[in-house]
Symmetry: D2
């Protein structure tokens, strides 16, 4: 079972909280709040998404590279390749 399944309730709760932050940004734009307010909310939501990404990446490192349930047949190499692809799209 993948870590995103084992930790599903916690990850879902985080994703929903970030969706709520996006709804806050919508409301701030609708209410025509000052743009500094809007910007601070955007920076906060982005930080929360970074935190969610880091949590999923940490689970990936443990469950798909270091300690896969079924460690045979190139499982670890596949997990490593997936992580590297993610890091390349993220680390610019």
């Amino acid at each position: 079972m993948s870590h995103t399944v084992k930790e599903k309730p916690k990850l879902l709760a985080r994703a929903r909280r970030i969706k709520g932050q996006l709804e806050g940004i919508e409301r701030a734009l609708e209410a025509e709040l000052g743009c500094a307010d809007v910007l601070h909310q955007i920076v906060a939501a982005r930080g929360a998404l970074t935190g969610l990404m880091r949590e999923v990446i940490e689970g990936h490192i443990h469950s798909h590279i270091a300690n896969p349930q079924d460690p045979g047949d190139g499982t670890r190499e596949q997990g490593a390749a997936e992580l590297i692809a993610i890091l390349r799209s993220y680390m610019k």
Copy 2:
């Protein structure tokens, strides 16, 4: 009128699209998709938030520092101070 008011429809559309990306992340977690899929969606949503942030910052630079409607009385200094506070919270 602030740039976030003038560009309200466009900014709202972007914020809603990102909220939709968060709903996609929720659905991916609910459906127990592989974590590489989830991660790519998180990286994409984060990139979209960065784009929204950059757009609001660019409007801020034009409307609150370079060409404020009412350029008297420390308006530009306030706009500069707000931008610097945002950049400090973002550039780590």
Copy 3:
């Protein structure tokens, strides 16, 4: 006089310190230190470069957009355009 001229000694000292951090990375690679050590030094140097970038950007906002010495003739618009170009190359 530009802010990078007024603050030249301070900025030069920071740039030289970061060059020293790069020399530390070279020495760590030469001495075949563990890669976790090397990585921590790289992350630290990158953080220091981010700090230097932020300092020059803050000076730019003050001296070339909010309070230019010669505020006529599109000076502020040019300063704003330069800052936006930098932010676009940095915020990805």
Copy 4:
């Protein structure tokens, strides 16, 4: 043998090139070039450091987590813990 040893010549060459970029920033400050020039050089050096970091991280994933030379005795767990510590200090 660690990947930073196997790839030592390549990594050293990259570190030296980035040190050269820092020397270019010093010269730009000394010569009192415009701050937009200085900023573009800083952004470029920071991007090069990010590239070096990514390369060392990729080697770490392969050599210390997925395929360690001596895979017994918690080697992979240690490699995973080191990577996670680095990512936490970097992903903010």
